[in-house]
């Protein structure tokens, strides 16, 4: 009886969260197929602990984030980083939103998983800094610093994203 109730509750949860969690996973990984695998693994974990979870949605996002981080660590071939300050040559600046999205997607792939997760939770899911910190299991200060670093890195990787992420903060002198 309890098992049937749990199964029904889980099915309801999947219906409600599947699309959002898939998009969250996609923004974390940048790959649809991998996002789908990630969601299935995370949902399986939620299913195992279903009766013990107070907030299954938060747990689902936490698992998605940790699994993405594990995968990112295990990944053998990482995209080569441009450490010399030169940005690889690309076609002329974006002419429309589609080009901008392509550039954004490529730039997101260059961020760390934590930076991506912070950006996605803050700007895609409109979570507060406190909520983001709770979901990722870190301090609010870490969320702030990771956000700043992520935006700065996007600016450095793709200057044409300045209109999305805003200009670099001005240095204050007295």
């Amino acid at each position: 009886m309890d098992e049937d109730r749990a199964r029904a509750g889980f099915a309801e949860f999947v219906r409600a969260e599947n699309a959002a969690s898939t998009r969250f996973a996609y923004l974390l990984t940048g790959d649809r197929h991998h996002a789908e695998d990630l969601v299935q693994v995370a949902l399986a974990r939620v299913a195992i602990r279903w009766e013990r979870l107070d907030d299954p949605g938060a747990y689902l996002r936490r698992v998605l984030y940790t699994q993405a981080a594990s995968w990112w660590r295990r990944r053998r071939a990482r995209p080569p980083e441009q450490l010399d300050g030169f940005v690889p040559e690309r076609p002329a600046g974006p002419e429309d939103d589609t080009d901008l999205r392509v550039v954004l997607r490529a730039a997101l792939a260059r961020l760390t998983v934590r930076q991506r997760a912070v950006l996605v939770l803050r700007y895609y899911e409109d979570r507060t800094e406190a909520e983001t910190a709770e979901l990722l299991g870190c301090r609010v200060g870490t969320v702030k610093s990771q956000t700043r670093h992520a935006l700065g890195r996007l600016r450095a990787l793709a200057p044409e994203l300045a209109e999305l992420v805003g200009p670099a903060p001005q240095e204050v002198t007295r």
Partner: protein, 461 residues
């Protein structure tokens, strides 16, 4: 500005379709979890069972009868270096031993405290590795009947493989001839910069589990191996600086404390170890030191001459002289065949030996005798021109002590094929691991060859 970033992120992700989630995901995930738990529990149970069975079936010490019946006990004619795989006394008891020996051939960098024993009845070699380095014959002693090794505060019973605290807190000086009393020195005290002192010397009775005698030696340091218990176990002779102090159990206070009843001057000589008392118990042997001119080892002119003195007044016992022991690092008497025949262990100097003066500094203490290359078992006869060599240790064995009863009786047996006991567990484990690695390597090679053959066949087709 960041609202534009939100819009862009939505533009990126909103078109992504929801992941396909199988209907049975809930049941399948839980079932997989249950199976994994059951498998883990099963593996743990098997592991516990294996460990328990291994513990229950562990090889225990092999008991050996105190009186071996394979061959007549005796001193072996040959000594071999015990290899690394030699079983320990604790794992496989050798039975009463004929010899306890050590040296560079027995120790190595891995087991730097290692010593070895060889049984009296056959060539069973077993290893001993006390917690601290002990020198066989000085800090590690073999009981006169060969049953016990006394080292590092422990008595190892070689017939059972068990060890137990010797009962007192000190380092060994000598076994009594019947093995029932142990002469020891309390652990020395150190006063910077370089002064060591022995608080007292004791005589411990193993049957009564108490000291029957305790003698304070002032601020002197008593070197290991420089004491002797009389044949009846009632008197103790100890070298204290340049004197031999004689003391009796019957003179002891109820708490065991006693002072010397006589002090024999040594004039630069020594008390020659546990066999110093003559069989009648009325005389004690001493060594006088001189230098030789036609020495076997010219760079080491130290020469020892054995003398016997009465304990009543310290006068020399008349009789022909014992032969001089030229170029000899130390002399330890094992016992007496008669009043005119002494059996002794004699240190032979190697090229690195330096003939230091008879000082008792800890760095060049007489008992260590750095540079001793081998040890000889000798018979010293009054009136003989030279000693008779009964046994000499092979190269690399620089420390030796023997079961006094066998050496005094002169029972010698022909050495046979050495037995080093069951292989140690680390060797078995290493063999199993190597076999597994070799098996895996062979399997990989076979699989590689098969793959290549298949490719060749399919390529030809």
């Amino acid at each position: 500005m960041t609202s534009r970033l939100s819009e862009a992120l939505h533009g990126l992700a909103d078109g992504v379709p929801a992941a396909a989630v199988p209907d049975e995901l809930f049941d399948r995930a839980r079932a997989r979890r249950r199976h994994r738990r059951a498998a883990t529990a099963g593996m743990l149970a098997v592991l516990v069972l294996l460990l328990g069975a291994g513990y229950a079936l562990r090889p225990g010490p092999v008991r050996w009868p105190a009186t071996a019946d394979s061959t007549a006990p005796g001193l072996p004619t040959r000594l071999v270096d015990p290899p690394l795989r030699t079983a320990t006394v604790g794992r496989s008891a050798p039975g009463a031993a004929a010899m306890l020996f050590g040296g560079p051939a027995v120790r190595d960098d891995w087991k730097e405290n290692r010593m070895a024993v060889v049984a009296a009845d056959t060539d069973r070699y077993r290893a001993l590795a006390p917690a601290q380095r002990q020198i066989a014959g000085f800090e590690a002693l073999l009981s006169p009947d060969g049953r016990y090794v006394w080292a590092g505060g422990l008595l190892y019973d070689l017939t059972s493989g068990r060890s137990a605290p010797a009962g007192m807190d000190g380092y060994p000086l000598a076994f009594a001839p019947d093995g029932k009393r142990l002469a020891y020195a309390e652990h020395d005290t150190f006063t910077p910069p370089n002064t060591y002192a022995t608080p007292y010397v004791g005589l411990y009775d193993r049957d009564r589990h108490t000291d029957v005698l305790r003698m304070r030696v002032g601020s002197a340091w008593v070197a290991p191996g420089q004491a002797a218990v009389s044949p009846d176990g009632g008197e103790l002779a100890v070298q204290v600086r340049d004197e031999v102090w004689l003391t009796r159990v019957v003179d002891a206070e109820p708490d065991g404390t006693v002072g010397p009843y006589r002090k024999l001057p040594l004039h630069g000589g020594r008390l020659p170890g546990a066999g110093s008392w003559l069989p009648d118990g009325r005389s004690v042997a001493t060594l006088t030191r001189s230098t030789c001119t036609d020495c076997p080892v010219p760079s080491y002119p130290r020469t020892w001459r054995l003398e016997t003195r009465t304990v009543a007044d310290g006068t020399l016992v008349p009789g022909p002289a014992f032969p001089d022991l030229r170029s000899t690092t130390y002399v330890h008497l094992v016992g007496w065949r008669s009043a005119d025949e002494a059996v002794a262990l004699v240190g032979v100097p190697g090229p690195a030996a330096v003939d230091y003066p008879e000082t008792h500094d800890i760095a060049t203490s007489p008992y260590q005798e750095h540079g001793t290359a081998s040890v000889q078992l000798m018979l010293l006869r009054r009136g003989a021109t030279s000693p008779e060599v009964l046994f000499r240790t092979p190269a690399g064995v620089t420390e030796l002590t023997v079961a006094a009863s066998l050496a005094i009786d002169g029972t010698v047996r022909e050495s046979g094929r050495p037995d080093f006991g069951p292989p140690p567990m680390w060797l078995v484990a290493a063999g199993a691991i190597l076999t597994a690695i070799a098996g895996a390597a062979i399997q990989s090679v076979v699989a590689y060859l098969r793959r290549n053959r298949r490719r060749g066949v399919s390529g030809r087709k």
